[in-house]
């Protein structure tokens, strides 16, 4: 717990790497790596938000990509309607995600376990179809965001480095927030519910209320990631909500280590770098990635963080 531990060292190393990345990109002239890592940081943010409900709250949501879409569409649709200010776009993106999470959460939390997985999946798929049906906003083809969110000169999202640091700041802010939440009264209740819901009810906690609030907080965080993602790709389409993207987010969380603060970040970095690496070797990278996931599930208990923890102990 105190002193030195391998997982802490690796985490610190990774964080320093993320902070210094633009410097490396500048020195080496490798611009592509900035593009890649901006995406990684944004998806790490989404994975961290999923980890809040999945790892700490025990709610296995298979529909988290819906928020990426909702946040993204909020930015894209407002931009198309002539509202370019990020001070409006981002709050709307987060608020819209909160409302969606409130409704979906209230419904899904009536059930548990496998049902919960299936229902969150189904509702996200519904969001996907709804977006595909939005003819005014591109339907299936998606919506191009011609102008990135405007923060009145405070920060320029079209500047690669500034945008990267904005994303990184958001990621750190969200992780800080999760850290506080997890150790707060609220966080202890949510984790207690994951551990033993019956007992928590018996000592006087209305379970659903706390889980729902946690579900909404997580959705809002992921909505923020969605707004950033739309700015990053200058584009939003139903595809960001497709269920395989929700699956990707789950994989990142589990690969990194569920219920750990920095696990999802680790998971996002490793998963997306692996995807990048494999797709450079072969066009058919998923042929390797698929069975790899199976092997991780079968043999890799606790994800990377768990592995590092075991290294430490001996």
């Amino acid at each position: 717990m105190k002193a030195f531990s391998v997982s802490k060292a690796v985490t610190a190393l990774m964080l320093v790497g993320l902070v210094l990345l633009p410097l490396y990109s500048y020195l080496s002239g490798n611009i592509f790596i900035m593009t890649l890592f901006t995406r990684i940081v944004i998806l790490a943010l989404a994975a961290a938000s999923l980890n809040l409900i999945m790892g700490f709250g025990g709610m296995m949501s298979f529909g988290h990509a819906a928020y990426l879409g909702i946040g993204g569409y909020a930015v894209g649709m407002l931009a198309q309607e002539g509202v370019g200010s990020g001070f409006i776009q981002f709050p709307v993106a987060i608020a819209a995600s909160a409302i969606y999470a409130l409704v979906i959460g209230a419904l899904s939390l009536r059930t548990r376990g496998v049902y919960f997985i299936m229902i969150t999946l189904a509702f996200a798929q519904m969001a996907y179809y709804v977006a595909s049906g939005l003819a005014r906003y591109g339907g299936d083809d998606g919506l191009t965001v011609y102008k990135r969110s405007d923060f009145s000169g405070l920060i320029n999202l079209s500047n690669r480095t500034q945008f990267y640091y904005l994303c990184l700041t958001c990621l750190f802010a969200v992780i800080f927030l999760i850290w506080r939440i997890v150790n707060s009264r609220f966080g202890l209740v949510v984790q207690g519910l994951r551990s033993n819901e019956q007992r928590m009810q018996a000592i006087g906690f209305p379970a659903k209320r706390y889980q729902l609030v946690c579900f909404v907080i997580s959705g809002m965080m992921c909505g923020l990631a969605g707004a950033l993602l739309a700015n990053n790709t200058d584009f939003v389409s139903p595809a960001v909500m497709y269920w395989t993207r929700s699956g990707d987010l789950m994989v990142m969380v589990i690969l990194g280590g569920m219920g750990t603060l920095f696990g999802p970040v680790m998971g996002a970095v490793v998963y997306l770098l692996l995807e990048e690496f494999l797709s450079q070797i072969t066009e058919y990278w998923a042929l390797i990635m698929g069975p790899l996931l199976l092997l991780i599930v079968l043999f890799g208990r606790g994800g990377i963080m768990g592995l590092l923890g075991r290294l430490n102990r001996g």
Binding site: R180, I181, N183, R185, G187, S195, A202, I203, G204, P206
Partner: protein, 255 residues
Amino acid sequence: MAEPLLRVENLVRRFGGITATDNVSLDVAAGELHAIIGPNGAGKTTLISQLTGHLEPHSGSVSLGGRDITYLPAYRRCALGLARSFQITSLLFDFTAADNVALAAQAHAGHSFRFFANARKEKGLRDTAHAALDRVGLLHRADVVVNRLSHGERRELELAVALASKPKLLLLDEPMAGLGVTESQRMVKLLQELRKEVSIVLVEHDMPAVFALADRISVLVYGRVIASGDPAAIRANDDVKRAYLGDQHVVTHHV
């Protein structure tokens, strides 16, 4: 006469064709330790579940301190001063003993929609937790994760958790279940202390313990209360002898 703390009136609960709780009425006065005994399958667990709010009765009523709680969910009953222990130990197994108790104190301290301050550093909650742990003799194990506690320690922790919410009435569902002789003796001693502070409904198979502790005993057979009275009266009751104490040797060896 003062309103009893807990009043159960004409409670009925059926499962299919079986009436598991058959028109049960009983009351528990403030300060009383009321034991419920009965052979296996007499419907004790069903009755308890209706008192705690895990099961709804088909008819009848339960009131606590004069307030009707028949259909209140478990967490609301807890807020009104009803705490319970579980027959099969039910704790947050990946939390420390202190965390388990502190959460109960936290529930008692109002809503928990506080998102930012570190709850483990809240002195009030920790003090309450430590006091409750001390009360059951577990203070030295406060920072041990429940998974690593012994069975007896877990039973004691169940009590500490129940105490931390400062209940008016404690429902104990077989607190001696699975305990060894020494552990049982400790538990009896502990209950003897606790009963001075809080009213208790005790469901228990351990007859010597029940007769040593109870002010009053209700005997449940096939979902009905066949007798209710002080230990001496129950001991002398012919119905009870016939229905229950006659094969006591079977019952007491059940776990």
